[in-house]
Symmetry: C2
Subunit: 444 residues, 2 copies
């Protein structure tokens, strides 16, 4: 120890680290007596207080122990020590950019930044310290009430705000649904479909089965035969087929749920974007006791804003409280309050209208280009994507041609979760991330 060189301002820390290293690496043995504070201070030419502080830290961490009137001893510490790794701040490789991306992207230039920033400042000023309070499991009451008001105005849904649960986006809510209904339940999902849905259910421990979707919506008979306890579907505009589940099928599926104590998860992910006419009536409105209605703000505001909500049937809400009332909501209160103001002030609906006008123009550009190229289009006038086929072209050919033009595109078959016929030859055109000009410029 006499050869310790203690440098810098923090001599006690330096001494502590040297002693700790000697203990961990076995140079100071179990049971060995350490020099007295005074003796070590003298030999190192430091103050007794410095040694005292170093010994105190080692004592607190249990590297040494003291025996009254006989001094400090090394504890029995036997560990493979892996300290002192070097690191550099990391960089992420840039994501591949496309000239035209029909897979992901948002109309981010239309996001009402100045409104959002203004509302944020208002929230900071209005709420002050209340923003620091923990939020009840089901979310901030102001936001729950605001969502209920919005659902009533924009979606014709009479949802009791009590039963609304705010969560951090769709996948988060899928996880809550599994915990709520039980992971012994079988979840039926639509095929083809958005892979994340079944992936998230399975990651949460549930079993998934698949129900085919045709142009006529979810196949009721297949759902009835599936053995499922829960059916997850997007009846207003299925992704990626675009199919609408008609009223007769909705009624039949609700009867099926009612008869067996089952539930329907109505994932209304893009219902704001019915570009002609009003949104289609929700399944939830037909049977609020058997339907969990859910939606997020990822498509309407921004993917980075992880906020979504679900309206639970009253009995499930009771169970939700039993399971989660000990937990705080995971969405920051700041975001919840800001969004509540955006909904209550009518800003959100104005933003949606601007987006719809924009998307109508993009959609028309896509339809024009499809007609110019002689494609067949499958489109139900709703949502932000449609299907396009090029006479007789295989998926491989479609992607090869797209790649050549710097276009990112997926085919219907990329969303097939369980083998099915008829998925070949359709490109899924999600037009949220493209400009009408860029679409018009696509060359054959």
């Amino acid at each position: 120890m006499q050869n310790y060189e203690l440098k810098g301002k923090n001599k006690y820390w330096s001494l502590y680290k040297k002693l700790r290293g000697d203990i961990l690496e076995g140079r100071l043995k179990k049971g060995e007596r350490l020099p007295s504070k005074r003796a070590l201070a003298e030999s190192l030419n430091v103050s007794v207080i410095t040694v005292q502080s170093a010994y105190d830290q080692l004592l607190a961490e249990g590297y040494i122990f003291s025996r009254e009137r006989s001094g400090y001893f090394v504890s029995d510490v036997n560990v493979e020590f892996h300290g002192g790794r070097e690191y550099q701040p990391v960089q992420r490789p840039p994501e591949k950019k496309y000239a035209l991306d029909f897979v992901r992207g948002t109309a981010s230039s239309l996001f009402p930044f100045s409104v959002w920033a203004k509302l944020m400042r208002a929230v900071l000023a209005d709420c002050g310290e209340h923003l620091l309070e923990s939020v009840p499991c089901d979310g901030d009451l102001e936001l729950k009430n605001a969502v209920a008001g919005y659902l009533y105005r924009a979606r014709g849904i009479d949802a009791d705000p009590r039963y609304i649960v705010i969560g951090a986006g769709a996948e988060y809510l899928y996880g809550v649904i599994v915990q709520l209904l039980g992971r012994d339940k079988i979840f039926a999902v639509e095929n083809p479909g958005y892979g994340k849905i079944s992936k998230t259910y399975m990651l949460n421990g549930a079993k998934c089965v698949y129900v085919p979707v045709t142009d006529g919506g979810a196949d009721c008979e297949a759902a009835e035969r599936s053995g499922a306890d829960v059916l997850h579907l997007s009846p207003s505009h299925q992704f990626p087929t675009g199919a609408v589940t008609p009223a007769s099928s909705r009624a039949r599926l609700i009867a099926w749920a009612n008869a067996g104590g089952r539930y329907v998860v109505e994932d209304d992910y893009d219902s704001e974007f019915r570009l002609s006419g009003k949104p289609l009536q929700s399944m939830f409105s037909l049977c609020p006791d058997r339907v969990i209605y859910m939606n997020t703000f990822s498509k309407s505001l921004a993917p980075s804003m992880r906020m979504g909500y679900m309206v639970l049937p009253p009995a499930l809400y009771e169970r939700y409280l039993q399971l989660f009332s000990h937990s705080a909501n995971v969405v920051p209160l700041f975001e919840q309050k800001t969004l509540a103001k955006m909904l209550d002030g009518g800003y959100f609906e104005r933003h949606i209208n601007r987006l719809k006008n924009h998307y109508r123009t993009v959609r028309q550009a896509v339809l024009d280009k499809a007609s110019e190229l002689g494609c067949t289009v499958k489109d139900t006038g709703s949502g932000l994507h449609l299907l396009v086929s090029f006479e007789g072209a295989s998926d491989g050919f479609i992607k090869e041609q797209a790649e050549k033009r710097g276009i990112n595109v997926r085919c219907l078959s990329d969303y097939v979760l369980s083998p099915m016929d008829g998925a070949e030859g359709w490109a899924v055109i999600n037009y949220t991330g493209v400009s009408p000009e860029a679409v018009s410029e696509i060359k054959v």
Copy 2:
């Protein structure tokens, strides 16, 4: 239909709802033919376009179908209709307020609002549209790097920022850990302990066993006998006992984990608040391949800010990416960027120092009051709570006396998760939500 009264501006919507109601309630029967658009328009004294729009909506929703040249017919829709519920915005009952709360509460008046607001404005200005982008599953890179820097400066931890995962608070991260390690694994948690930990693991489908904690920290032998695959502990300052797991036990537990391919979850929930000396060395530093290090900002910033992080062993990080790379991070990018600036700019550490000064004063007031009342105190000089016993007083007596004085308090026995001896007679004094003055004023 001739007696429909169509009121208001939106006649088509009114007509649509009346027709839908008649179909749903069976007044219009399956297969029945609807009047022609012209005929209905005449009888209702509205334009043909109004009827056309209503029929279009019913067609889109599948309530009716059309046959070429023969008109519109009612679909087979058979459903119990539960529409039109009334609701009122709900109010939450106010939480019970105490004169003095030793269970929950934060020093919210110390939160650096003006700094936080300034940084938020800077983030809005700097990042612009980038704030709308979806965040990779493990969090924003800037925040990951900032957390690594903070851990190095404040905690002496050399964490590779690559392996840091940002999540929405502790419980959220517990859920991710179960998904990562598998819900077939057995999780050992400390007893007595914070009930939310085991509750959350179990809610996520894992099995929990209990390892006793004594004044000497976690019981290593019990951990070794437990059959657990994962051990969750807070070695620097256990809640609620305050016990520190000494270096020898840490080494033994790491050897146990190493030998069996097991993992230790080091929950460092209040290590910022070691009020004398430096934080105790982390178990993670001893063995970054077997220890998952985790902490949150709920105690240091505000409970409403649901942000936490964990540092994964490299092999687990690989598995994490396999499972979650398809998912976006659930913490809003806005909050992540603001926190990164707070850490990088040194604001966070300044805030912690102010908090520590405040808590030192509160702690001294608690110690003075305990001495005045002749209590025995169990305190390791770390964290934000300590244990107090009143000679021979039972838990019932302690709570009765507290209640009389408007004081909210829990006893050690409230945190017992599996039967154990010696838990009776200790009050758990969490002093984060009280002022030194209020403590001094407690009357016997």
